[in-house]
Amino acid sequence: MSDAPRAVLDGPDINRALTRIAHEIIERTKGAEGVVLLGIPTRGATLARRLGDRIAQFEGLKVPVGYLDITMYRDDLRLRPARPLGRTELPPDGIDDKTVVLVDDVLFSGRTVRAALDALGDVGRPRAVQLATLVDRGHRELPIRADYVGKNLPTAKSEQVKVHLTEIDGRDAVLLFKPGPKQRPGAAEGSEG
C-alpha cells in the first residue's frame, strides 16, 4: 500500500472554493441568466447541485441543474472491462441556446471533458460551453482548459487525486495519494479526468 493520503483541501476550503466559483459564474455570465449547470457523475453531479444552490442563494435565480454521463463517449473504454453507467438527466427545458457550465471534480488529462463535449453535441446545441472544476491538477493531454478552478494543485503524474464529498463519502476533502510501490496505474476512480 501507499503512504497515507494527504488532505490538500478540507471542508471549509471546498466551501470557499465553491462559493468563489459560484460568484465567478454569476459575474462572467452577467447574472447567470440562461445558465445550465451540468455535472459529470458521480462527484461532478454533486458539485453542480451545490453550485446551483449557491447561485440561487446569491442571485435569487434558480439555475437548472442536470447530469451528463460520459461513459459511453470515453476513448479508453477498451482498456478496461465495461463500466456501469452514470445518470444522464437534462433539465426539462434542455440545453439548446443555453450557456452550459460543465462541472467536474478533477481536471487532469482533459479526456473526460472531451468526451463530455461529444456527449453534449448529441443532446443539444448550447450557445456556449464553459468548464468548472474543483481541482485542476495539470498534465493535460488535450487542448482543454477550465473557466472556473477551485484550486490549482501541482502534482506528479504518478500521484492520484481523489475528491470526497459529504453526500457520497461522508466528509468533504481533497486527498493526494503518493504512488505506492505495487499500485496499478490509474487504479483510483474519480481522478482520471
Binding site: 454521463d69 459511453m72 463517449y73 473504454l77 477498451r78 482498456l79 478496461r80 472491462p81 465495461a82 463500466r83 456501469p84 453507467l85 452514470g86 445518470r87 444522464t88 438527466e89 461529444d118 448529441d122 443532446v123
Partner: protein, 305 residues
Amino acid sequence: MKRHLISAADLTRDDALLILDTADELARVSERSIKKLPTLRGRTVVNLFYEDSTRTRISFEAAAKRLSADVINFSAKGSSVSKGESLKDTALTLQAMGADAVVIRHGASGAPHRLATWVDGSVVNAGDGTHEHPTQALLDAFTMRSRLGALDGRRITIVGDVLHSRVARSNVLLLHTLGAEVTLVAPPTLLPVTVQSWPCEVSYDLDAVLPKADAVMMLRVQKERMNDAYFPSAREYSRRYGLDRDRLARMSEDAIVMHPGPMNRGMEIAAEVADSPRSTIVEQVANGVTIRMAVLYLLLGGETQ
C-alpha cells in the same frame, strides 16, 4: 460477466442487476432526438438467424446500430446455408470476417454453445430450439422491474406451453436469480418431465394461482402444436388456460399481464386483455431494444478478454 450470453443461468445476480441498471440509463437514449451513441464504433455484430424472427432480429439490429456497431445480417434462407454449409463452416467464415459478436437464433438447442467454441467473439443466444432465450427473459425482468419495482419476493406466474418454450425456461432461471417466486401453470402434457428440478412451483389450476400473482406471463400456443394432441381442443385450452376478462378481474389490482409475442388473440389471451392498460406487451418490445443495447455494451464495450 462471462464473455458469452448463452443461458440465463450464466448470469449471477450482480450481472443481471448490472444489465438491468445499464438498461435503465440507456432507456433515456431512446427519448433523445439523436438516438445514437459512439460506443461500439468499429465493432462488428453479426446477426446469424437460422429461424425466422422479425422482432428479435430487428431488435438486435436496432440495438447494435444505436451503439454505432456495424451490423451484418445473415439469414439461413438464400445464403450458403441453403447450399448445405454446416454451422461450423459458417462460424469459421464469420471468424475470418472479424465478427466481434455473433447473435444467433437456431432451431437446434445447444447451437449457440457449440458456436461459442469456434469463434473468438462473444456469442449471444437469441433463441435456440426449446432451450433458452436469455435476452427475452432480461427484457421481461426489465419490464416487470419498471412496473413493479424490485423483484425480490414478487410472484410471477407463467402460463402455457412450457414444454416447447425457451422463453419460459430462461425466465424461470433469471427470475429465480433475481429473487422472484415463479409458478408455472400448464396442462401436464405441456410441462417438461424435468420441471421438478427447476427452481419454481408448478400448478395445473390457473384460477387458484391468479389472485396471488404480481405478473402473469402468457406463452404463445404455437399453431403447429394444436393438432398434436397436447390438449383436446383449442377451445378447451382457451377455457382452462386462457386469460380473459373475467380472469383479469380476479387478478390483484396492480398485477400486470405480459406476453412475449406474437400473440394468438382469443386463444391464450383475449383481445381486450391484450389491449388493457395492465398489459405490457408493447412496452416489452420497446424494452427489447434497450436491454439488447445493455447486453451488447457490457459484452463488447470494455476490453476483450
